[in-house]
């Protein structure tokens, strides 16, 4: 495997890159250690229209239905010169809370596509579980085929095409299982068992503040 920052070889078990010193702790020092909300589409550079975004949401949702373990998140935005697209991909997949309430969807089955339209670079970063199924050569081939649409800034088409190709590759390694029939929850501990996501309670913060005060 290669270091996402300097692309030198990194062996398993090493906590940092022996060439550039890149590590999870180093990137956390730069971008922070907080979890960020990772949406399917994060268009920070405003390259996608609302129509494109909605279409991509549908496409990505279908993908998630077919592959209940996986997700793909795309980030479009200009990055500072000190941060590469692969740096951000590494950090997002390790510190991004994908917008889903399904516990089964773990980040090590995640795929992050980061595109910097200004620097004209793009990268795929995958979790540990997908490393063998989506090797670097395959992902590089997919990106190479998307070179022209990337140049034309047809990012909606880029994301959709990339997803189709990734899905095809994953199907070759996956096993088809029947979809589980819908069952009513037997135990309801809280609202999350009904598919409702809890939010941070401002009262708790204010009560702590008032207690300190």
């Amino acid at each position: 495997m290669k270091c996402p920052h300097c692309f030198s070889e990194v062996t398993s078990g090493h906590s940092h890159c022996s060439q550039c010193g890149f590590s999870s702790a180093a990137i956390r020092a730069y971008l922070g250690s907080d979890w960020v909300r990772l949406e399917r589409i994060t268009d920070n550079s405003q390259r996608l229209s609302l129509r494109d975004t909605r279409h991509l949401e549908t496409v990505l949702d279908d993908f998630e239905r077919r592959f209940p373990q996986c997700f793909l998140a795309a980030y479009l935005g200009a990055l500072p010169g000190t941060l590469t697209v692969s740096d951000l991909g590494f950090w997002l997949i390790n510190h991004g809370a994908f917008h889903t309430h399904q516990i089964s969807r773990r980040n090590d089955f995640g795929i992050v596509l980061v595109v910097d339209p200004l620097r004209q670079s793009a990268c795929f970063t995958v979790g540990y579980a997908l490393e063998q199924m989506l090797p670097e050569s395959m992902l590089g081939g997919i990106l190479e085929r998307l070179r022209q649409p990337l140049k034309r800034e047809e990012f909606s088409a880029v994301i959709e095409t990339a997803l189709r190709r990734i899905e095809k590759a994953l199907r070759a390694r996956a096993s088809a299982e029947p979809r589980t029939s819908e069952q009513p929850p037997t135990i309801v501990g809280d609202a999350s068992d009904l598919g409702l996501q809890s939010l941070r309670l401002p009262q708790r913060v204010s009560s702590q503040v008032s207690r300190h005060v």
Partner: protein, 371 residues
């Protein structure tokens, strides 16, 4: 009183004869019907006379109407007042009195054969040329270029064709033989035409056309090896197609044959330019058949025999295409159903973390799409 019908071609002659005869009879005061000297006007302002030979026609005063019953003409027969009769369908632009109708090989002589143009003979209705008739061609003289053992071609067109073919043989290096079949006839499957005219066709540069009368699209072309080996097959196929197309310009069977022969003769004259000088004492070689590329055209024009084959091919193609589409849709529907009812579960391998990443060690790929 007897009654018989006369061909319309003899009408002008009978008119003239009728006039003289009537004048002679009136001088002898015989009890004959009285003539009417009023010349009826032609309806529609149609002029009596052809488009280019008006001056050669007799004056109107000499065209006296015949008495009723004279010479056995029926009262219901054609008269001047009846307007121009239609001599041939498809040639209505010619006037009824056009002298060209009386010329040799004129349209009038083809009047009976025009009626012979029928629908194409269905393939299943085709009959093999009887063996004894085929054997007659084997003993035909080598200088008899029109092979018509069943005497299917009428006498005058036959003479024309014989003269044309003799002229062709005297002038061209590729001799042209024409074997005429009846409309419903075809050559038997295992026919060997090498023995025609005592095998003379195999010893020289020859093109033999087997022509079913009235169905030029079924014509078959055979050329000797001396021609076949020097001329590309595509050129020969083009020649055959051209001749068939030209024959189809006419609707009359005899005219089709005439056009076909003239065209084939012309094309053979063109063809001989591409041939090298003949080799003396060359051994006899079998004839080669040329396939015309005309089925699509002829089928479009005249239909049945080739349309059956074409329809079969089209049906097979459509069936194959339909089956392919159905299979494709079936597979896609099956995949969609599977996608609806199934989920894809990936294996969960154990991976030793790298670079301190909890979920990813940064595996992936990068591309720079800068120009």
């Amino acid at each position: 009183m007897f009654e018989f019908s006369l061909p319309r071609s003899l009408l002008p002659l009978l008119l003239a004869l009728g006039g003289s005869f009537a004048r002679a009879q009136s001088e002898q005061d015989l009890p004959l019907p009285r003539w009417t000297h009023d010349i009826p006007a032609l309806p529609g302002g149609i002029q009596a006379g052809g488009s280019q030979f008006n001056s050669l026609l007799p004056s109107e005063s000499n065209l006296l109407p015949p008495p009723s019953g004279v010479l056995g003409l029926r009262d219901s027969g054609p008269r001047l007042a009846d307007g121009p009769p239609t001599l041939l369908h498809g040639y209505s632009e010619l006037g009824p009195h056009d002298l060209s109708l009386f010329l040799h090989s004129g349209i009038l002589q083809q009047q009976t054969s025009a009626a012979t143009l029928t629908k194409p003979t269905p393939v299943m209705s085709l009959r093999d040329l009887p063996r004894e008739i085929l054997l007659q061609t084997h003993t035909a003289p080598a200088n008899e270029y029109l092979l018509d053992p069943q005497t299917l071609v009428p006498e005058i067109p036959r003479v024309d064709l014989e003269r044309l073919l003799e002229f062709h043989a005297a002038s061209a290096r590729i001799r042209l033989y024409l074997l005429v079949l009846d409309t419903h006839q075809k050559l038997p499957e295992s026919t060997n035409l090498d023995a025609v005219a005592h095998g003379a066709l195999t010893r020289q540069r020859v093109c033999l056309a087997v022509y079913p009368l009235g169905e030029p699209w079924r014509a078959r072309f055979l050329v000797s090896q001396a021609v076949h080996q020097f001329v590309p097959s595509a050129s020969l196929a083009d020649l055959a197609e051209d001749c068939i197309k030209d024959a189809l310009q006419a609707t009359d069977a005899a005219q089709q044959l005439q056009r076909f022969t003239v065209r084939l003769s012309t094309r053979l004259f063109w063809l001989e330019k591409s041939l090298p000088a003949p080799v003396p004492n060359s051994p006899p070689a079998p004839l080669h058949e040329v396939s015309a590329q005309a089925p699509a055209i002829t089928a479009a024009v005249l239909g049945q025999p080739y349309s059956l084959v074409a329809a079969g091919i089209m049906l097979a193609g459509v069936t194959l295409l339909g089956t392919g589409i159905a299979v494709f849709r079936l597979l896609r529907a099956r995949r969609d159903r599977q996608a609806e009812t199934c989920v894809w579960i990936l294996p969960d391998p154990e991976v030793i973390p790298r670079l301190g990443g909890a979920f990813s060690g940064g595996a992936g790929a990068v591309i720079s799409f800068r120009d």
